[in-house]
């Protein structure tokens, strides 16, 4: 179809775009603007970068950023590495692929709240984990040492199956002839993985990493349902901090500024993905 279709296409899209503008784009622009005000909603006063200065000079905010980085690394590294390992192993099982995909997709379609209360119950002082290991009264979620690892476990639970499914799809695109050639040359399993599988699934790998990073950046439910950011702020990650600033302390300006920081983080990660995808296409 011709470029004269441009008008037709946009006219056709107009009602949908109008709604998108009213309910998505304009509100987001408003949020960015609010981040540069004192946050009084009725009569916002422009304060420039004051909120950002306040954020980045606040030890509490740095603590939150560090928690977010720990949570993100703790989620991304094992969920990507384990998922890749599992996918490589499962890629050999052709029979059960449908069932495998269904099983691994379960955490993706179940509400995080249902899962959150389950995990909270599992790690309750009188919960299943303590019963299983014969520990009495260990309160995992109230422990400054263990609360974060438990939250990471929930994030892993949510994300690992999704990554397995993504990797299985990626592995299916590596041409079988490359493996045959490598085997003829006497390459062992590890060499085949390193020199054929890994380069072959590079776009999938980048996609899985980026999706998991964004998932971790956006995480809220596990913290809200399981720890409330505690103990002693140990599990307070960025989205929860934004929530607290807005609805606990009514610092709307600061909260909006922190939301912009998060948005910039997500956009940077997405930009990295696009850049890698672009350089792949050039190759």
């Amino acid at each position: 179809m011709k470029s004269s279709d441009t008008t037709t296409a946009w006219l056709f899209l107009a009602p949908a775009l109008l709604l998108l503008g009213i309910f998505v784009l304009w509100p987001m622009a408003y949020l960015v603007w609010l981040g540069c005000t004192d946050g009084s909603l009725r009569d916002p006063f422009f304060v420039g970068t004051a909120n950002y200065e306040r954020l980045f000079t606040s030890p509490r905010f740095w603590e939150v950023l560090i928690n977010t980085v720990v949570f993100t690394f703790g989620t991304v590294v094992p969920s990507v590495a384990l998922a890749l390992l599992v996918a490589v192993v499962l890629n050999r099982a052709l029979l059960f692929r449908g069932i495998i995909r269904a099983v691994y997709f379960l955490p993706t379609v179940i509400s995080l709240v249902a899962a959150g209360v389950s995990f909270r119950w599992l790690f309750h002082p009188q919960g299943w984990i303590n019963a299983l290991f014969g520990l009495s009264g260990t309160d995992w979620l109230a422990s400054p040492t263990w609360a974060m690892p438990v939250l990471i476990l929930v994030a892993l639970w949510k994300q690992i199956g999704f990554n397995v499914v993504i990797f299985l799809a990626g592995l299916g695109t590596v041409p079988a002839s490359r493996y045959e050639a490598a085997q003829l040359d006497g390459a062992n399993d590890w060499q085949q993985f390193w020199y054929i599988t890994l380069p072959g699934i590079r776009p999938t790998l980048v996609f899985a990493i980026v999706t998991t990073v964004i998932f971790a950046f956006r995480s809220f439910e596990p913290v809200y349902v399981m720890t409330g950011g505690g103990p002693v702020n140990r599990t307070n990650i960025l989205v929860y901090y934004i929530y607290q600033q807005a609805f606990g302390l009514f610092n709307f300006g600061l909260s909006a500024a922190a939301a912009v920081v998060l948005l910039v983080g997500v956009l940077l990660v997405t930009a990295v993905q696009l850049w890698v995808a672009g350089s792949d296409q050039q190759d």
């Binding site: 056709f12 909603l41 192993v89 997709f105 179940i110 249902a114 439910e221």
Partner: protein
């Protein structure tokens, strides 16, 4: 963000050299370990929900606050899913079948809700529609209630589930090209006839796939809805919010009984999804939730 949309190649030759039994025990262990891990929360939900007997389980589901939460969740999904369906069809149709300037911008816009945390989308609506918010005074004057009421919950749900259906349909429609439609139009079919008899039947499975994933998310969304709902019992609590409240009140049977509804929804969604994959023989679109 682009998704991996490549369909599975089932014919993958044997690329390993170790004995069969080692391979199968490896596969078995991997499967068993991860499946156990993935199913544990589900087991907890059903076990704890039914632990005190079936009677209490059903009692927890039919008490008024639970019934109100269930109906509110159904209403929110019944409004947001069809709206996203219409939008998804229109947007993916325009993107796949037309060449126009600004296409990539449109694709980015559709993806935007994936980049924004649901809590922040809720926060945005509070800042705009709240009593102290940008449109607050105007809404009060005209006696329109958006926040802490059904419209706010629906809006938040739409925002979060916005890309689901479009994202499924775009790659599918792009794959199918425009030949069939062009033939139909050259044979004298009207635009609507072409859409109804060619385009729609061609994407019906992809559409269903997008709808069930969209629906699962719409009914299970917590973050965005929690911020705009105000947690008013019996009025603005959806199922996920109700679960959290019951748990915090130490009503574990109630919390897990209501949670079992979401668990069953997940199982049904998976079953339908697998059925579609089996029927069509290919993996559709992307699978972000």
């Amino acid at each position: 963000m682009t998704a991996t949309t490549t369909p599975f190649r089932l014919a993958k030759p044997d690329t390993t050299t170790e004995p069969t039994w080692i391979r199968w025990s490896l596969i078995g262990t991997a499967l068993l370990f991860l499946s156990l891990f993935l199913f544990v929360p589900l087991v907890v939900v059903f076990y704890e929900a039914l632990q005190k007997g079936v009677g209490l389980y059903f009692a927890a589901l039919i008490e008024p606050d639970a019934r109100s939460a269930i109906s509110l969740t159904l209403i929110a999904a019944a409004i947001s899913v069809p709206l996203n369906l219409v939008f998804g069809l229109v947007a993916s149709w325009a993107i796949a079948k037309f060449e126009f300037t600004g296409k990539s911008v449109l694709i980015t816009l559709i993806d935007l809700p994936y980049a924004v945390s649901p809590v922040i989308s809720g926060l945005i609506y509070v800042l705009i529609f709240g009593a102290q918010g940008f449109l607050g005074p105007w809404l009060q004057e005209h006696d329109i209630k958006i926040l802490f009421a059904v419209p706010g919950i629906v809006l938040a749900t739409i925002f979060v589930t916005f890309p689901f259906i479009a994202r499924e349909l775009i790659p599918l429609m792009q794959d199918q090209g425009t030949e069939e439609e062009e033939t139909a139009i050259s044979l004298g079919a009207t635009g609507w006839q072409t859409f109804r008899m060619i385009t729609l039947p061609n994407v019906k499975w992809g559409l269903l796939y997008g709808v069930i994933l969209c629906n699962a998310r719409a009914m299970g969304e917590f973050g965005a809805v929690s911020v705009v709902s105000g947690h008013i019992r019996g009025l603005t609590n959806t199922v996920p919010l109700h679960i959290e409240i019951l748990y915090n009140e130490y009503n574990y049977v109630g919390a897990f009984a209501v949670a079992s509804l979401l668990a069953m929804l997940a199982l049904v969604t998976l079953a339908v999804k697998s059925l579609i994959e089996w029927r069509t023989g290919l993996r559709l679109g992307n699978e972000k939730l």
